[in-house]
């Protein structure tokens, strides 16, 4: 089977290493070119992409090399390509666009500016010893996902492999109805960023483990349990090869079917006992709370420590975009919030203050006792 080809535009010194790193994985094939002037580049891309490439990788600051003719940045080129594809309804020009740069440059010239974030499907940093296998797998999945969406545009059920009617009807409302138009990129980017990456109808492995009450690290049986819970709750729609997710509503149903009990009402210890009893997978260990937490009615995770949390002891994390009603917030533990690891949501300031006072007065009591 031939590999999926990406075109990579970059003229910085580390570009060759990035290309080789990605190619060495054997997962995708990357061709590297130097940037040309904007008009030339845009025109050339149109030909190149049509013929042989399924995706594009752009260095953020294509204008950084004084010797180069390129006087533009990745967002302006991406914007032109997205616009072009949109006005011409040109399916061939719909492909994933990936952004790469150094952490410093992303912080300086990208992180503060939100309007261009929607243009890109994935971002990776060049200077943090890139995990090429992981990046290549993501890129492959994105390209495959775009192709699949193109071929099945009228079948949302098939794209996400779930009956849309079973989900909150607001999730996909903007893509449904008569005379509704949208680009492949709109839909692909919505599925990846809103459905897959934000917790809500779909949850990741850590949150899945929190809800099942299981400590992943200590449980040798975790992989077996994942296998047990794969059908029908694992997400198998587009991008599933590189982004593993599980349907949160189906998890509740499956647990209820299996044990006759409702998952949210149980402690981690009870959940794990029931799992062991009904699945006969023995090597499962219940997760325990963080030092400053006491409850094991886990439902979410601490984004900083990546361990289970009871929402009663969770503090909403800062977000630059409030979740839709069908999505969930991300949380920080009291431990992380008090250690100033991560940024809290402004609405939690007062509550965190109360908790802090409470903990301090306890410490004082202990010292004076």
């Amino acid at each position: 089977m031939s590999l999926i080809n990406y075109l990579y535009i970059d003229d910085e010194k580390e570009a060759d290493a990035i290309r080789d790193g990605l190619n060495d994985t054997g997962i995708i094939k990357v061709d590297l070119i130097e940037p040309a002037s904007f008009e030339k580049q845009a025109a050339r891309l149109k030909d190149d992409m049509l013929i042989q490439y399924k995706g594009l990788i752009l260095d953020l600051r294509l204008d950084d090399n004084p010797k180069s003719q390129a006087k533009y940045t990745a967002p302006s080129l991406a914007q032109a390509l997205r616009f072009e594809a949109g006005i011409n309804s040109d399916l061939a020009m719909e492909f994933p666009i990936i952004l790469c740069s150094t952490d410093k440059k992303i912080q300086e010239s990208y992180a503060h500016e939100n309007t261009s974030h929607d243009l890109f499907d994935y971002i990776f940093k060049k200077d943090e010893a890139p995990d090429y296998k992981k990046i290549a797998a993501k890129l492959k999945s994105l390209a495959k996902g775009y192709s699949f969406i193109k071929q099945n545009l009228d079948e949302l059920d098939n794209i996400i492999k779930r009956k849309i009617g079973e989900l909150d009807n607001r999730i996909f409302s903007k893509f449904l109805g008569e005379n509704v138009t949208f680009s492949i990129h709109d839909l692909a980017s919505f599925i990846k960023k809103e459905l897959i990456e934000q917790p809500g109808p779909l949850i990741n492995e850590k949150i899945l483990a929190a809800r099942l009450g299981v400590d992943i690290e200590k449980s040798e049986g975790w992989t077996d349990l994942l296998g047990y819970f794969s059908t029908p709750i694992k997400y198998t729609g587009v991008f599933a090869e590189a982004w593993e997710r599980w349907w949160s509503d189906l998890l509740l149903n499956k647990f209820k079917e299996l044990t006759g009990q409702r998952l949210p009402a149980l402690t981690a210890v009870e959940r794990v006992q029931l799992l062991i009893e009904h699945t006969k997978i023995n090597k499962l260990v219940a997760a325990t709370p963080l030092p400053r937490a006491i409850s094991n009615n886990f439902w979410t995770i601490c984004e900083y420590y990546q361990v289970p949390l009871d929402p009663l002891e969770a503090v909403k994390e800062y977000t630059n975009k409030e979740p839709s009603p069908w999505q969930e917030y991300r949380y920080l533990s009291i431990d992380a919030a008090l250690e100033r690891k991560g940024k809290i949501h402004i609405s939690e300031k007062e509550r965190l203050e109360r908790i802090k006072e409470q903990l301090e007065s306890e410490e004082n009591d202990e010292h004076s006792a």
């Binding site: 400053r292 006491i294 009603p325 069908w326 917030y329």
Partner: protein
């Protein structure tokens, strides 16, 4: 499964009301109302059959909602122990009713249970309290007085949590008109989230929903009680069931 032709339109109407209700709540900052959305979907689903227990009569509507969680963003007054820093309210409700009993002068529900669990937490442990409003449907005849619809203070202490210095026993069952989610949550919000309640009460759509359900569920209840003193012709409900203190 044989659903009578007039039942689906009726269920559609209840589903539409619940959907508007959820939307109004989201408008004032509620999130995680999946449980209501799922109920809406079920009510609209022809394959989801609700029937009178013990028969094959599908002329019913109703729903079962579990673990609908409301986080209180500020603490209510007089919370004790004072160390509690966070409180959340968890609602379970289970109702079943015959469609043709809607807006009549008779008992609207076959089954009705609205359970409110309140959980507080400090840095050492969790604390529990709660109450429920339900319809007494037991076939046994307990000696304690049971108004047909009553509110009872009843803390739902989690298994194994211990009772601390809490004394629990059957507390008085206080007469309360029937509720379902729309009326029941109004009671919870008005008591625990007064600011939110004021916002909701400024919205005609919210008031209209309350009025509709009060009319269907409270009017027969209260007119039946009133019939103890004044003659209300249409009343067919037994007032002695509602208020065993009448004689």
């Amino acid at each position: 499964m044989n659903i009578p032709h007039n039942v689906m339109p009726f269920r559609q109407q209840r589903a539409a009301d619940l959907e508007s209700f959820a939307l109004l709540l989201e408008g004032v900052g509620f999130s995680n109302l999946h449980a209501i959305r799922d109920t809406v979907t079920l009510l609209r689903d022809k394959l989801y059959g609700l029937h009178t227990p013990g028969t094959t009569d599908y002329a019913c509507w109703g729903y079962k909602i579990n673990d609908l969680t409301i986080e209180l963003n500020s603490l209510p007054r007089h919370v004790r122990p004072r160390t509690i820093h966070t409180i959340s309210i968890v609602i379970d409700t289970d109702i079943l009713a015959k469609c043709d009993q809607w807006e009549t002068m008779n008992d609207p529900f076959i089954k009705m249970n609205f359970r409110v669990k309140i959980v507080g937490i400090d840095t050492r442990r969790k604390y529990f309290t709660g109450f429920h409003i339900d319809k007494h449907t037991g076939t046994n005849h307990p000696t304690e007085v049971h108004p047909l619809y009553h509110l009872q203070y009843a803390p739902s202490v989690a298994k194994g949590a211990g009772f601390g210095s809490l004394l629990t026993l059957d507390t008085p069952r206080i007469m309360h008109p029937p509720v379902e989610l729309i009326l029941g949550l109004d009671l919870v919000i008005s008591n625990f989230l007064p600011e939110t309640w004021n916002k909701l009460k400024n919205q005609p759509a919210y008031l209209a929903l309350q009025k509709k359900y009060q009319n269907a569920l409270w009017k027969p209840y209260l007119l039946t009680l009133a019939s103890n003193w004044a003659n209300h012709d249409p009343v067919t409900w037994n007032r002695f069931d509602l208020c065993p203190h009448f004689n």
